[in-house]
């Protein structure tokens, strides 16, 4: 294998490994939010959690694949490291944005679930009869 192929392999391995780690973190820690949001309905929470993680994998691995190809020529080890660094850095930023977006979705679902059970914000000003 030549240098560019080694760079591709390193980039793909590191990016997919990081995606798996972030997705597992999200899956494990997001479950608590969802169980609370769905009022203890663990089956529904697990289902939504799984669907969110599947979406997370599809978007991130899709982006990693599309972003793999480069037209630049490698200038030795330094060029390889720089190419890897640039691509892997962008994948990290996208993963971070996706992660915060998922947290936002979790908190919205939880807030909506909490609001449904919240008593009225104002009292009745009187009663009839």
């Amino acid at each position: 294998m030549n240098a560019i192929e080694w760079t591709y392999l390193t980039y793909a391995g590191a990016s997919i490994g990081m995606t798996i780690w972030v997705a597992r973190t999200l899956h494990q820690n997001g479950r608590v939010f969802l169980v609370d949001a769905f009022h203890g309905n663990q089956e529904l929470a697990d289902s939504v959690n799984h669907l969110l993680v599947v979406g997370f994998y599809l978007i991130n691995i899709g982006f990693i694949s599309l972003f793999l190809k480069t037209s630049s020529t490698l200038d030795g080890l330094r060029g390889g490291i720089e190419l890897f660094s640039g691509k892997f850095g962008l994948v990290m930023v996208i993963l971070g944005i996706m992660h915060f977006f998922n947290l936002f979705v979790f908190s919205r679902i939880r807030r909506r679930g909490q609001l449904q059970q919240t008593p009225p914000p104002v009292p009745a000003q009187g009663t009839l009869g």
Binding site: R111, L115, Q116, T118, P119, P120, P121, V122, P123, A124, Q125, G126, T127, L128, G129
Partner: protein, 135 residues
């Protein structure tokens, strides 16, 4: 402030059937997904005094009045806050508007709109529902 009350499942909104703006808002709210069922009853409906004896004490011709299924009455800005509370999309807003600073603002806005509802209807070319139905 959150208030411990029995669960509310139904709200009757007593609106001015001779006000175009009120009729348009009613139509808009009827399309809104809700957590609490909203029933709209024009003040001019003869059934109002029979269904809600003593309601005139809350001045329903001056401002919006709502009655819940436990006969609790909400007026003016509290009535608007309860309508928002009933909807799925705006329940969060109902809590924001009931915060002390915002409630004063909501009260002023509701008083102004209620006091000028017929002028606003006229400016916006909104015909009263009762006239639309008659015509």
């Amino acid at each position: 402030m959150r208030v411990a009350t029995p669960e509310i499942k139904h709200l009757t909104v007593l609106y001015d059937g001779e006000c175009g703006l009120c009729g348009r808002l009613k139509e808009r709210l009827q399309d809104e997904p809700v957590w609490i069922e909203l029933e709209f009853l024009a003040l001019q409906n003869p059934a109002v005094p029979q269904r809600f004896p003593g309601i005139e004490a809350y001045e329903p011709t001056r401002h919006l009045v709502i009655v819940d299924d436990h006969q609790g009455v909400y007026c003016a800005e509290n009535a608007w806050i309860m309508i928002l509370y009933a909807t799925k999309a705006f329940r969060g807003l109902s809590f924001e508007l009931s915060a002390p600073g915002m409630k004063t603002l909501a009260k002023e806005a509701c008083e102004w709109v209620s006091g000028n509802r017929k002028n606003i209807s006229s400016w916006c070319g909104l015909k009263p529902q009762l006239k639309r139905n008659a015509g």
